[in-house]
Subunit: 381 residues, 2 copies
Amino acid sequence: MTGSVADSVDTVLVQAASGDYPVFVGTGALDRITDYLEAHAPAHSYAIVSDHHVAPLHGARVLDACRSAGLRAGLYTFPAGEASKTRKSWSILTDELLDEGCGRDSCVVAVGGGVTGDLAGFVAATFLRGVSLVQVPTSYLAMIDASVGGKTGVDVRAGKNLVGAFHAPRCVVADPDVLGTLPDEERGPGLVEAFKHGAILDEAYFDSLRADTAALLAADGTAAIRAVRRSVEIKADVVSRDEREGGLRQILNFGHTLGHALEAASGFALGHGAAVAEGMMLEADIGERLGVTEQGTRERLGEALGGLGLDTSAIQALDAQTVVGYLAADKKARAGRPRFVLLQGLGAVDGDGGWSREVPEDLVADVLAERVSGSQKPVGR
Amino acid sequence: MTGSVADSVDTVLVQAASGDYPVFVGTGALDRITDYLEAHAPAHSYAIVSDHHVAPLHGARVLDACRSAGLRAGLYTFPAGEASKTRKSWSILTDELLDEGCGRDSCVVAVGGGVTGDLAGFVAATFLRGVSLVQVPTSYLAMIDASVGGKTGVDVRAGKNLVGAFHAPRCVVADPDVLGTLPDEERGPGLVEAFKHGAILDEAYFDSLRADTAALLAADGTAAIRAVRRSVEIKADVVSRDEREGGLRQILNFGHTLGHALEAASGFALGHGAAVAEGMMLEADIGERLGVTEQGTRERLGEALGGLGLDTSAIQALDAQTVVGYLAADKKARAGRPRFVLLQGLGAVDGDGGWSREVPEDLVADVLAERVSGSQKPVGR
C-alpha cells in the first residue's frame, strides 16, 4: 500500500427514494465506523450481523469499536456460506434480536460478504416493519456490487433471491484494507462484477481492470481501492437514476440472465462469479450474432475474464435445454419470457427496446449448446 | 339496504410515499373488481389469497370475475384464524405462487379480514422483492382499519406483527355488502377501531356510532356504509400526512399500547377488539389522572363500547405487573420505554410531546390494578 492512499476516504453519494446515502470508500474507513454510525444511523442499539468466519475477524472489531464509543451493541452470527441465505436463518436472527430486546430504534450493521449483506439486510427490512441498516462489506463482491443499491433477500427452493425487499442502507463503509482476509479463491469471482461494470459503461475501466488483474487478485491496496471506488461510482450512478429496476438499472443484469440459469441448472456447482462470467460471454455472443454487439466483444471479454482463474468446470456437465428451462423462471422475466441486456460493444449497452429485450429461444439454445458441449474455448483455458 | 345507497361507490384517496392509491367504498364495489384491477393494478396474473372460510364466499367470486374478464388468476388459500398469521404460512403461500410461475408482473389480491390482508400483504411485499397488491377487505376490522395504510406482517413467538413491511396497495375495494357474511361475534370487535377513530378525531362520528350501534352490529347497509366511509376518510387522512408513523400516525395507536400488552399477557385469550377497547378506557383513565384528558372521557368511552357486547372476561385473570412487563416489549417503545397517546377529550388527541409520551410506570400499574382486580365496572356489564 502506498502512503498517498492510506487513510484517504472518499464519499460516493447514492440517491434513493427513501433518501440519499453515502458510500465511504478507502483505507481507514473501518477505523471510523462509529463516527459513521453516529452521524448516519443514530440508534438505541446496534445489532452487528456476521457469519462465523467474518465475526472473529471484523464483526468483533466493529463490536469493540461500538462499545469503546459508548454505543450499545451486540454481535449476531450465523454459519458462513450461501446455504445460510434462507428464510430459516432470517427467522433465527430476527428472533435473536427480539429476544435481546432490540426495538424500532435499533440499527442492523451487516459486516461481511454478499450473503451477509443480503440476509442481514432482509432482517433489517422486515424487523418491526423496518429498521435502519448499515452495510460494511468485507469481500470484493460485496464492496463492488452487493452493498450498494438496497437489494436484500434470501434464497428459496425455487431459486436464489426470490424473496426479499428493497431496503436502502443509511450508509456503506467499504474499507479495501479488509480484503487481505478474503480467501484467495473468492477474489476472482468477486471481481467479475467489476468487469461487468466496465463492460456496460466504461471501456477504459474495463481495460484498467485487465491490466491490474494480478494486483487485484493479490488484494493490493492501490489497485483494490481504485477498482472498488470506480465500481461503486458506476453502481451508485445507475441505481440513483433507477432504484427499482424499471428502466436503466436493468443494464446491471448483463450476463445475469444466462448466468443465473447456468448457476441453477448446475445445482450451484458452478459458482456465481463463474456463472456470470460465462453469462457475459454467451450474451455477447448472442448480441454479435444478432448484429447488435460489435464483433470481437465476446473474445475480449473472454481474454479479460480468463485472467481471473475462475473454476468453470461444472459447465461441461450441463445440457442446453435444461438451462433454457431455467430461463423462464428468471424473476426478471415478463409474461414468462426472459429478457436479455445486450452490449453495443465494450463500455456501452444497446438501449433499443428499453435496456433489455427478448431474444429468439433457438438462438439462445444454439449459443448454449456450443458452450456446454465444450466446442468453444472455455474461460481461462 | 335502501335504494339510495345501492351501487353508489365513493372514492377516498390515500397519499403514500410510493404513490397515491384510491379506496373504493360502497355497495356494488365488488361487482366492479376487475375494472379496478385493470385500471389500478394491471398484471400478467392475479394471485387471489383468502382463508378457508372466505375463499368459497368471496375469493371464488373474485376468481370467477377475473376469468370472465379474461384475466389470468389463481386462488391460494390458508386456514382461517390468527394462528395462520405466521412466517410458515407466508413461506407456503410464497412457494405456491412460485410453483405456479407467478413472476414480477403478478399482483396479489387479498380477499378477507385483517389476517388475510396482513399475511397476503407481506407475501406481496417480499415476493421477488415486491409485487403489486390490492386489498379487498371483507370484515369490519379490515374495511375500517387494516386495509388502509400499507402495514403488512406476521406474528412471531415474541409478539404480534413483529415481522413485516410497509407495502401500500394499488387500491382498496371495500364493499359493505359482504359484511352480512361476517360471523356475528366478529362484528363488535371489528367496530372498536371505528370508535377509536371517533375518539381521536371526530366527536360527532363517535356519537353517531353510538346511536347506530344496533344497526352496525346487524350489518345494516346504510349504517355500515356510513361508518366504513367515515373511518376510511379518517384513516386515509392520517396516513397520508404521516405514512411511516414518525409523527401524527401515532395517534392511531390510542388504546393500543395497553391493548397489545393486555392481549399478550392473556395469551391472546382476550381478543384484539376487546383488548383495544379496554386499552382505550385505561389510557383515558391515565389521561384523566394526569390532568391531560377531560374528566368523564373514560366513562363516555365505557358507555359507548359497552354496547358492542365484547367478551372481556379474560381480563379478570391478569395481574397488573405481568401486563406492565409486556409494555416494555411494545414495538413502538423507545429505549425500552412504552409511549402512550392521550386524549384531550373525545375527538381530540393531546399533541404535547409529539403525539405520544411516556407515563409514570406507577400510575400505569395503579390504573391496571384497579381494572384487573375487577374493582371498576368492566365493559358491557
